[in-house]
């Protein structure tokens, strides 16, 4: 799509109920099987949002969820697009239900909510835009993984620290172009 002629109205789901259902299936498969790479297609977001990150936001965000845009993601093109397609309010990191951006822009991650002992679900889901994402790198074990899985992570140490907080902690979607993998707090990570 030509950037000069595109408006905030362009690039959303063609058939929202069905497109969102298919997208959620991919997101759920990713979260249920940490390290498993899934594909998300069907939307054309404004730069610098990746297709996968944008579809996660379209599928999961609405006026009930605060979204934090980190770094270059926090631009008028992205704000306008998300405002029209999701209606989600933009908030600071401490209030965010979802945060999206490159890893360095999301740091420090202790700004985000990790839930409370009674309600560990009240934590932020981070959507981390990755320069590359493949099934190589740190070794993952835990719920959803048959024996072991491998995944390229932005920062092994930070994610190990996060999993130590279990059952509190952050949950991650890692996105790159149209691909997504997830790393919930329940996963144990070892560096190779």
């Amino acid at each position: 799509m030509n950037t000069a002629t595109r408006s905030v109205f362009d690039g959303g789901f063609q058939d929202p109920p069905k497109d969102a259902a298919r997208a959620f299936r991919a997101a759920m498969r990713a979260m249920a099987r940490p390290g498993d790479l899934n594909t998300l297609t069907g939307a054309t977001p404004p730069a610098p949002l990746s297709q996968a990150a944008a579809i996660l936001l379209l599928t999961l965000c609405d006026p009930d969820t605060g979204v934090y845009l980190a770094g270059p993601c926090d631009c008028e093109a992205v704000r306008g697009w998300l405002r029209f397609h999701t209606g989600a309010p933009f908030v600071g990191p401490a209030q965010a239900d979802f945060a999206v951006g490159a890893w360095d822009d999301l740091l420090p991650i202790d700004r985000f909510r990790i839930g409370t002992p009674e309600y560990p679900d009240r934590s932020t889901t981070l959507i981390v835009e990755m320069p590359l994402l493949d099934a190589q790198g740190a070794v993952l074990r835990g719920p959803g993984i048959k024996d072991r899985a491998t995944l390229s992570l932005p920062d092994v140490r930070a994610m190990q620290d996060n999993s130590v907080l279990y059952p509190l902690g952050l949950d991650f979607f890692l996105t790159c172009a149209d691909r997504v993998a997830a790393l919930p707090r329940s996963t144990q990570i070892t560096e190779v």
Binding site: A21, F24, R33, S186
Partner: protein, 285 residues
């Protein structure tokens, strides 16, 4: 069909349920509160499972609904029709052909695969509820991993009956952290919960969703000297002869005649279709 949004629920409700499902998968066994909606069926008829299924179904899915293992009981037939009309998805009675299986109180006998999703209907999601009625207290007990009371309950079973008499809704510990109610499945089904499929649990009236990802450790609580035992009626199926399936006891007359048949109707039928029969079908006195 066109009078409804895909899969009945409005999109904002589905997003809210989907967010709860993702958090549930990230914290296996933890009960995520959700804003359960009024559904066009009464509480107790699977409103939680229906909402989870509605938020999970895609147009490409094939749905199976079972009630105590059977595809042809009122609850199963109604829910299957509901999704045929509101989601337009094909339905099946064959476990192996289904991608989403909504179940009331059974796990199918056939091992489920990675591409399948099992949705449980849950009446009381809180395993500690009959031991501690206050939600504020049970929530604190879960947060402190304080499950001594549950072991006291199992111990009292032993002191009264000589064995753990709990036979359904048998408590399990998921991924070494949360004690979870597996819904009122017979304890025979508990060992099957470490499976390749995604397991989602929906409690409509109680407004809770929880989940068990594939290959997650699910341990039935027990004692070293009274280990967990999955039990079933000590009898083969009187229709297909299966010795490994969970059985229903059917009363045949008023003289005490009864027969045992597979509770999983599809399992029993598929066995009979492939030549497994019992020579004389009849009851046992």
């Amino acid at each position: 069909m066109s009078a409804y949004n895909f899969a009945y629920l409005d999109e904002q409700t589905k997003r809210m349920i989907r967010r709860a499902i993702l958090k549930g998968l990230a914290i296996p066994g933890y009960q995520v509160p959700f804003a359960s909606r009024e559904m066009p069926m009464p509480y107790g008829w699977g409103t939680g499972g229906v909402q989870v299924s509605a938020a999970t179904l895609t147009p490409e899915d094939t749905l199976k609904v079972i009630d105590q293992g059977a595809d042809d009981t009122t609850n199963a037939v109604s829910l299957r029709k509901f999704f045929e009309r509101t989601a337009g998805v094909p339905t099946t009675e064959e476990t192996t052909k289904a991608t989403v299986i909504q179940t009331r109180h059974r796990i199918p006998e056939v091992e489920l695969g990675e591409d399948q999703i099992l949705v449980y209907q849950v009446p009381i999601p809180e395993p500690l509820r009959f031991l501690e009625p206050r939600e504020t207290e049970t929530r604190k007990m879960h947060s402190l991993e304080e499950y001594g009371l549950m072991h006291v309950k199992l111990y009292e079973d032993i002191s009264q009956h000589g064995a753990i008499a709990t036979s359904y809704a048998y408590p399990v510990k998921v991924a070494g952290r949360y004690v979870m109610d597996p819904s009122p499945i017979p304890k025979f089904d508990n060992p099957k919960m470490e499976m390749a499929a995604i397991q989602l649990f929906g409690a409509g009236r109680e407004q809770r969703i929880y989940a068990v990802p594939p290959y997650t450790q699910v341990v039935s609580l027990d004692f070293d000297d009274y280990p967990f035992e999955p039990t079933k009626a000590d009898h083969p199926c009187d229709l297909c002869g299966a010795e490994d399936s969970y059985l229903d006891e059917v009363i045949m007359d008023d003289a005490g005649t009864r027969m045992f048949v597979c509770s999983d109707a599809d399992y029993c039928r598929s066995r009979r279709d492939t030549g497994h029969t019992v020579t004389a079908i009849g009851g046992t006195v």
